[in-house]
Amino acid sequence: MKVYIAYGTVSAVMLLITILFYSYKNWMALRKNAIYIWLLICAFIAVSTDVALGYASLQNARYKEALDTLSGVIMSVALLLLYLSLFLYDMAVTCRMRFVRTSLFCIFLGLIAAAGIISVISPWVGLSTFSYPNQQNYGARGNMLQAGVIVICLCAGIIVLVRGRKKLTKRVFCVLSVSQALLLFDVFMQVVLKARNLASYYTLAGVLISYYILLHNMDQYRSFSSFCFDRDGFHEVLLERAYYKEDFVCLGICINNIESITNFCTEAEIAQLHQRLGRILRSICGRHNVYHIHSFEYMVLLRGRENAGKKHQILEEKIPSYFRIDNKNISLLCGFYSVRFADAAYDAAEFQRTIISMRKLTLEQMNRDNLVYYQGENREEIKHDLEALRVVNHCIALHQFHFAFVPIRSLHERDSISYEFVLQEYLEDGTEISQENIWNLAAETGYIREAGHIAFEMLCKAVQKRGIPASGGTKYHMNLLSSQLATTALAEEYIQTLKSYDIPGDRICIELTIDQRADGEKLEECFAVLRGYGISILLDQFGVTVCNLKNVLNMSFDSVKINRHMVQTFCDGKNRQLGYMVHMLNARNWTLYLDGIDDIDMLGVLSDMKVDFIQGMAVRADSAVENDAAGVVLPDGVLGGGPVHV
């Protein structure tokens, strides 16, 4: 009994197990993965054929020659394909697959095809290129050709690896180069030393299995709960597609109620939920295409937008609205969106940014029937949002905003002009990002308080440069959100800033926009601290902000500003609320400001009302003439925009 059969058998079985598990684990749609499975299959065919037919020929002396010939032919072709795959694999891992479209590769392929054809036809056409004395396969000239091709493949592979080593980690480079050197040595042993290496198949199987364990095991890309590929796997695929500029469509599936699921399900139940959902998605969309990129988001890679629509229809029907797990009904609210890679200009980073925005848009909806496409209004909205977010983030990073002073006129003392400090930023197309939006975006980046301080400091700098009139009631109004005044420590910081610029508190008025999250008690504490330094507090945006009217009207504001929308609709005769509002607010003894006086004629409509200050385009036109010398040069050459440029 030939001892090599023992090694061959063990190698063949190990390769078979690897193939089975590699396929079972649903390899990711990467070029190197697709080639690797071919490597395994070719190696298995070569090894198992040689072992099986070798064993058969030992048992059956009558057909020995025929069996040996058949074994030789199959093995030769399988080995040629194996080493070609190995070369392709090296190109795939170093991102050089474009080489397969070159004429040089065609010549190379032709050479391999020629060697393969000669190997196959030799026994039948009587070419004495093969001989199998004692399994010394590489003895004949034909086999020398085959060995030559294999050596070229291996050498070309090593060259590709060396040239593309920057694209590989040190570990990957070492494993690939050492293993190929080992295979080269194996061929050398057989061709030059004419000694069949006992461990030849064993080496091959060992190398390929090492590849699997060290480089190719995709467990690190698999979600433990859903058994789909994870975020990192998706990222890998995305990078490769971006590199080769391949278009595809992403069908995103967001679970809208994951927060509630995690709140009331155990870890095991959540895992089961993902397991079932993952199974449904894989069965409908294909094993290789489903990625579990976040605990509440799955992604399916598809070809063509129509395909995404079709899959959405099927998924909408097949994904149940609830799962019954451990005697518990777990409801599942899904949202769907679709983005095309080409829409992000094959840029992986841009694509991922788009995905995040689409996810946000989808999560805001509660409608599984609707597939949200990245086109039309959605696309414009996302583009604007992203750009605005970048602009605001950039401003916070630079500690600088564009701003303007908007004049406010007293109706009692005509010469008294106050100014509202307003942040103004613009998108590339000239669209203004409103103050409200700037605060919202700053809140989104997590820097709402910092943004408030930056703006406040800029106000102080600007006020200092303008010079503070010794007399007169000129005040500077600063807009803040209730979250920017959440603690007394924050209020004290504002006071410290004022002190550092020697600005008396009575020249500052904080215009506070109250929102639903505002904590009345804490705000009152802050008001007390600010008032201690003479700062007055104004309730801003009255009439349009979402608030608890009863609570807000019981707070200790000094003044209130009615929003321009309420004023303008009143002047246009579209509402009659303003009169009642003014009456109600006057009853609180609050100083009253009206915003939105864009036309001096509007004052006539409002003449019966007990109003103290007005603000708007009419005031700007009026005061700009009187205050044309009021402009100041801002630090670092930042230009203020808006009504009164400073």
């Binding site: 063990v10 079985v13 190990m14 197990i17 089975l20 598990f21 684990k25 064993y202 364990i213 060290l214 095991n217 467990d219 690190q220 433990f224 975020r231 990192d232 990222h235 809208n256 109620n257 509630s260 709140n263 155990t266 870890e267 976040h294 009904n329 777990i330 409801s331 992986a348 980073a349 841009e350 991922q352 940014r353 509660m366 409608n367 992203l386 977010l389 970048r390 983030n393 916070i396 980046t445 997590g446 820097y447 929102d515 639903q516 009255f542 009439g543 349009v544 902000t545 979402v546 608030c547 608890n548 009863k550 009207l553 309420m566 509402n575 009659r576 609320q577 009642y580 009456h583 109600m584």
Partner: protein
């Protein structure tokens, strides 16, 4: 001789598996360690078995051969023992201070002495002059002892591994069967043990590839252990009742930064954060448990506090990556076992709490202690969410009806449908609270549909329109308005029960988080079906004055607290608010009418409808119908 090569081939692959596994990042758990030991022992045993056979083949019986044979037998026993330990560790039963394990250790020492001394004492076996292997009674006893352990392992696998995957249990059973065959082969001396080793290799390799790979627990982006690894280690530590303190570090603004800078830039930042955490972890292990969250497992709280103090200073808030400045804010959380939680599930729930996107839960820079008090509110919500889920699924939400009196017609002309939910003690839960939970949990759509359907069934069954009722008032959550098919669904339900939509009166409560466009769109559509719309909780809810003008509402409902405080002289808003609403042509429903004084106030201020305990509390179906018939009969 032929079988020896199988043994050598298997040993080679065991060696490859062991070395490759050694190169990988291994999770620090007992199960992983036990598996690594098993691989090592299997490799050694295969080489020793092959070595002893080769010695026998080439040198026959000699002292060296007997020694190697003893060593190979001992290695085989070691394989079974380490496999048994692996099975125990997978079931979290490898407790080092357990008396059972101690007694097994003593027995193992005895076995070691008996086997390794055999070349001289012949207690276990001896080789005759022809190289034949002869067993002694202790050998058989050892074999039986090992077989008994394998049977015990089968029992553990199928009784104590219930939470494990079936696939894992099948693999364990296959391995147990293989080892059983190996012991039987040694006992009977009829089958060569080498053949069995090859099969063990195949099963072990398949098991490794499918379920035991250390890659399961590694995060590719940072190289840290991942979320699964974190939970695996936590589960094991708690199973062995080991004191555990977890420090969670969460990047608060990860998503917005990701939107601005993209995944790759942020991954680079994450790698750097991981390095800093590793350097300052005080020998704790760092895990990357989510895109924005890292976790450290430490032995005690004091150590954790020290690490937190260091980290709060050392983790920068600004990162420079490829000329881009990425700014991050961090929140820190602490949870200790057994101090702050009793079991694994509780611990995991607290971790979920820290990882959730609720902005109010995260404070920049500070260390939040996730003890029971910190999560009390979320635990309460969890319970209500569960009850709601059950109610939605079982169609068991209870509805009651409160009459609404028309000043103009001097009778009850409408009713408000109010949902009721009971807790486990059969007490009613505050409707505002459970509706809020339903909104948060996205259960409001099925819940709303259920309430609407039940209201229609009630109206149709009791023919309420024959008793003077003109409108059925039902609350509508802003969350429902985001459901595009809401109008069609509600109209469909009403039609199903023969109720005209014109009889339906939907009351919407505004909130800041409402999608104003969606609300406006839905209300408009509802009006097109003939339904009427009211703005609920006006004055105290989260509403805006401009909504009276902007939203297509027919009615405004004044909240009871406003009515009460006005009656007590604590505010005068109603003097202006009510005329203001009337001036816009809306009708007013006043809630909280409890006294004649309240009625007089609302009448004086030109209100249209009254609702409150003065007329009736919310009543169950039968009581309401009785009340309605009696009241309207008197009018």
């Amino acid at each position: 001789m032929y079988e020896i090569h199988f043994e050598i081939a298997a040993a080679g692959f065991f060696c490859l598996l062991f070395l490759a596994n050694l190169l990988k990042k291994q999770l620090q758990s007992r199960r992983t360690a036990a598996f690594q030991i098993l691989l090592c022992v299997m490799m050694a045993a295969s080489f020793l078995v092959a070595g002893s056979d080769l010695c026998m083949f080439y040198y026959g019986t000699c002292e060296g051969t007997t020694l190697i044979k003893a060593a190979s037998l001992y290695a085989e026993v070691l394989c079974l023992v380490s496999f048994h330990c692996y099975i125990l560790s997978a079931a979290y039963r490898l407790s080092l201070d357990s008396p059972l394990l101690l007694s097994e250790c003593i027995l193992f020492v005895f076995m070691t002495v008996i086997i390794l001394s055999s070349p001289w004492t012949k207690w276990c076996f001896y080789l005759d002059g022809n190289g034949m292997f002869h067993q002694q009674t202790p050998f058989l006893v050892i074999c039986l002892f090992l077989m008994e352990h394998l049977v015990m392992d089968i029992f553990i696998v199928w009784v104590h591994y219930k939470e494990h995957l079936l696939q894992r249990r099948v693999f364990y059973s296959l391995l147990i069967l293989m080892f059983f065959c190996a012991v039987a082969a040694e006992m009977t001396q009829k089958v060569k043990v080498e053949g069995v080793t090859v099969f063990i290799l195949f099963v072990l390799f398949a098991f490794y590839l499918s379920l035991q790979s250390p890659d399961f627990y590694v995060d590719t982006s940072t190289g840290a252990y991942n979320r699964d690894g974190f939970f695996e280690v936590l589960r094991e530590r708690i199973a062995y009742c080991r004191k555990t303190s977890c420090l969670l570090v969460r990047v608060r603004n990860y998503h917005s930064m990701n939107q601005i800078y993209g995944e790759e830039t942020l991954q680079e930042v994450q790698r750097q954060i991981y390095d800093i955490l590793k350097k300052n972890s005080a020998n704790g292990i760092v895990y990357h448990v989510g895109a924005s969250t890292f976790a450290l497992i430490l032995k005690d709280e004091n150590l954790l506090k020290g690490v937190y103090e260091q980290l709060s200073v050392k983790i920068p808030t600004e990162w420079l990556v490829e000329d881009e400045v990425v700014r991050h804010e961090y929140s820190f959380y602490q949870i200790s076992y057994p101090k702050d939680c009793q079991d694994y599930e509780e611990l995991v729930q607290r971790i979920h709490y820290a990882r959730s996107d609720h902005e109010s839960r995260h404070k920049a820079g500070s260390l939040t202690l996730l003890h029971w008090g910190a999560v009390k509110e979320s635990e309460a919500k969890k319970k209500v969410a569960h009850l709601l889920e059950e109610a939605v699924m079982d169609n068991s939400i209870e509805i009651q009806f409160q009459p609404i009196y028309s000043i103009e017609k001097d009778k009850i002309t409408s009713l408000e449908v109010l949902a009721r939910l009971k807790d486990e003690n059969k007490n009613y839960i505050d409707p505002e609270y459970f509706i809020h939970v339903a909104e948060e949990n996205h259960m409001i759509i099925p819940l709303g549909e259920q309430i609407f359907r039940k209201a229609c069934i009630f109206a149709s069954r009791n023919r309420i329109f024959d008793y003077g009722i003109e409108d059925i008032n039902i609350n509508l959550s802003p969350g429902q308005c985001r459901y595009e098919k809401l109008t069609e669904v509600l109209a469909g339900i009403a039609a199903e029960h023969g109720i005209p939509m014109a009889k339906m009166h939907l009351e919407i409560t505004e909130s800041e988080f409402t999608d104003a466009d969606a609300v406006s769109r839905t209300l408009q559509r509802l009006k097109e079906t003939g339904a009427k719309v009211a703005l609920d909780d006006f004055g105290t809810g989260y509403s805006t004055l401009s909504n009276i003008l902007e939203l297509p509402v027919d009615f405004v409902k004044i909240d009871k607290s406003l009515v009460w405080s006005f009656a007590e002289g604590k505010n005068q808003f109603l003097n202006d608010l009510m005329p203001m609403i009337k001036a816009e042509g809306k009708k007013i429903i006043a809630e909280g009418i409890e006294t004649q004084e309240h009625i007089d106030i609302i009448k004086r201020l030109q209100g249209d409808f009254l609702q409150g305990y003065h007329y009736a509390r919310p009543l169950p179906e039968k009581n309401f119908m009785r009340f309605l018939k009696e009241f309207n009969a008197q009018c």
